[in-house]
């Protein structure tokens, strides 16, 4: 079971672009004029529906550490794609692309996530949605 999951995960990490759900009026919530690309260390993955969240720490100018919350597809969609809670552990380094929230908080919608080895995870929102979408 574990090996099977790992195989799926590796397949995903290798090339598959996982759509992030467009749900709950993302277009209303996030700002097209605030595209964002941040490199940081995962502190927590919140495995939730209708959307999961990845929390990262980003070292900014002058060594100041900022905490950012990134919204992704839902936990069910991730589960169906072979993800398990322990697969995105604290300490993992990521580069995340997306859009900042309109309310100006350190919150953003992830359109793609790139691991240190160059492999990419999520991509832009898709018509299929992903809050709990198909395999």
């Amino acid at each position: 079971m574990k090996a099977y999951r790992l195989a799926i995960l590796l397949a995903i990490l290798g090339w598959v672009v996982v759509p992030v759900a467009a749900h709950h009026s993302f277009s209303a919530e996030y700002d097209f004029n605030k595209p964002l690309k941040l490199k940081g260390k995962v502190t927590e993955m919140k495995w939730a529906n209708p959307h999961a969240w990845i929390y990262i720490e980003v070292v900014g100018k002058g060594g100041k550490v900022e905490k950012w919350a990134w919204e992704t597809g839902g936990a069910n969609a991730l589960y169906r794609r072979g993800w398990r809670k322990e697969d995105l552990v604290a300490g993992t380094m990521l580069v995340i692309d997306g859009y900042q929230a309109r309310n100006g908080s350190n919150t953003a919608n992830a359109t793609s996530i790139t691991f240190e080895n160059g492999k990419r995870l999520f991509a832009a929102s898709s018509s299929q949605g992903g809050s709990s979408g198909p395999k």
Partner: protein, 528 residues
């Protein structure tokens, strides 16, 4: 003295024979006084409810605010908490108005959902025992097809796998989270909870319900609750108690929309007589292969499906992707131009709903149920069951539709529900569902296309091969549109099981949308 001895002997004989009778009943002789399904299993189908105060407190208790007094349902004394857990239980009880997950309308978990003050309906097929609850349209599926529990995931309502031991349905409930309680009194568990439920029909109108609770990190030993569940012989359906929606309407967080919501019976809305012609012209789609059938020859639609709703949840007509709102191929099959035939006011209102500050007004942003027909094209899986007399649709986004096939009349017009009142019938191989009694609170999608309480929705589900249902819905809504309109798309069978979408429990988007709305309102006030 002799007489007394005689009496004692008589009593002893009576007790012994009663014990023997009950013993033989539970072991070998089948209970002939209970209903059974076609495959000979006890038939648990029906509407049931506990009639005790276990929802307040599983243990013996006197009354307190919002909690009626009652006898405990725990067998053999108090709940065997470990020392730390006994202390935590007391703290929970003290702070229950803020800590009880149910105060926030969170999913109650198992076994708590089984003895709340709301009825539930059991539907039984050879592969599933499904339970639909009036409370917040929660549902459970107990798989009796031998499929194993899922691994590496947890659920508010657990993962239920059942088997028959004689005439008792025994259900293993695993994969719980640690966020639910057992009652209002703060009785609780940890993430290692394992519940074994036993459902035994003791007569036609009574289920003896037992649940054994194991959690070695919280309790010193397993313990069991036991209670009768009573058939609601005066009910032929259950209704809706949408906990979070009712709460947000009551505290003003979800504001009424006088343009679409049902306002009472004072002004009945008539659907124009000539609109009926549009639906009578309907022709069944062509078959593209063999379809599955039930023993009675009716199409067998049962299974797990994903709708290919073509982006309808973001606009029913053709539309390009707009920032984070996905594109859609357009699912409007009538009118032929593929454009919703909106009245002038509705065009203005629909344009307003697209503004960022109206994102908060979409009921699904609050995690409320999607309504009809939207439930059928939100991008989330569904499960269809066909127990005797019903077609039941379970949606992964926690809601359900139980569609009676017995030809019953709709509810009285003034009874209005989020999901409306659906009745079904077969026309050839097409399942025709007519839905009325909508409360007009649901949106058609997240860009705010409009449906009002006046809508009558006629859905047609036609299997065109073993794995594809051709879905159509005609909406007749004279308050919003100039004519009826129809959407159509395929619903595709897949091999999978439903998971659970607990939604408002972990939804962080709503606050962001509220901030945007509040800021826009403050700006508008400032400029006045």
């Amino acid at each position: 003295m002799l007489l007394r001895n005689h009496k004692a002997t008589l009593v002893a004989v009576l007790i012994l024979s009663a014990a023997l009778i009950s013993c033989s009943r539970s072991s070998s002789t089948p209970n002939t006084s209970i209903p059974r399904t076609a495959d000979g299993k006890p038939d648990l189908s029906g509407i049931w409810q506990a009639r005790n105060s276990a929802a307040a407190d599983l243990e013996d208790h006197v009354a307190s605010f919002d909690m009626p007094a009652g006898k405990g349902v725990v067998q053999g004394g108090p709940i065997p908490y470990q020392e730390w857990a006994a202390k935590k239980k007391i703290e929970n009880a003290k702070n229950r108005r803020t800590l009880d997950p149910l105060e926030n309308c969170y999913l109650p978990g198992v076994p708590r959902i089984m003895y709340m003050e709301f009825p539930f309906q059991i539907f039984q097929t050879p592969d599933h025992v499904a339970i639909t609850f009036e409370w917040s349209q929660v549902h459970r599926t107990i798989y009796t097809n031998g499929a194993p529990a899922l691994e590496g995931i947890d659920f508010w309502m657990g993962d239920s796998r059942g088997r028959w031991e004689g005439d008792t349905l025994v259900v293993d409930v695993r994969d719980h989270n640690d966020r639910t309680w057992f009652d209002k009194a703060g009785n609780f568990h940890g993430v290692d909870l394992h519940v074994v439920e036993r459902y035994t029909l003791t007569d036609a109108n009574t289920i003896t319900y037992e649940a054994t609770i194991e959690d070695a990190k919280t309790f010193t030993r397993p313990w069991t609750i036991s209670m009768p569940l009573h058939r609601q012989t005066d009910a032929d359906r259950i209704f809706e108690y949408q906990c979070q929606a009712e709460k947000e309407e009551a505290n003003g967080a979800f504001e009424p929309d006088t343009k679409t919501w049902y306002q009472g019976p004072s002004v009945p809305v008539q659907i124009p007589a000539d609109w009926k012609d549009v639906q009578t012209e309907w022709k069944a789609p062509e078959k593209k292969g063999e379809i599955k059938r039930l023993a009675d020859g009716k199409p067998d639609l049962q299974g797990y499906y994903m709708s290919d709703g073509g982006g309808a949840n973001y606009g029913l007509g053709f539309h390009e992707q707009d920032f984070l709102t996905p594109a859609g191929r357009g699912v409007i099959s009538d009118p032929p131009d593929g454009v919703l035939p909106m009245q002038a006011w509705a065009k203005t209102e629909a344009a307003s709903r697209k503004l960022p500050e109206r994102g908060y007004d979409d009921p699904t942003a609050h995690c409320f149920v999607a309504g009809v027909p939207r439930s059928m094209y939100v991008p989330s899986p569904l499960q269809i069951l066909q127990p005797p007399g019903y077609v039941v649709i379970l949606h992964e986004r926690m809601s359900w539709r139980a569609i009676p096939m017995d030809g019953r009349a709709h509810l009285p017009d003034h009874m209005r529900l989020w999901q409306g009142d659906s009745v079904g019938k077969w026309e050839g191989d097409t399942l025709v569902i007519e839905t009325t009694n909508l409360n007009g609170k649901a949106w058609l999608n997240e860009v705010g296309e409009i449906q009002s309480h006046a809508a009558r929705v006629v859905e047609r589900l036609t299997p065109i091969n073993a794995d594809t249902i051709h879905y159509e819905a005609t909406v007749l809504d004279p308050l919003v549109y100039t004519r009826p309109w129809t959407i159509s798309f395929p619903i595709n069978r897949q091999k999978d099981e439903l998971l659970e979408v607990a939604c408002h429990e972990d939804n962080q988007d709503l606050q962001h949308l509220k901030d945007i709305r509040d800021e826009a309102r403050a700006k508008a006030r400032g400029s006045n």
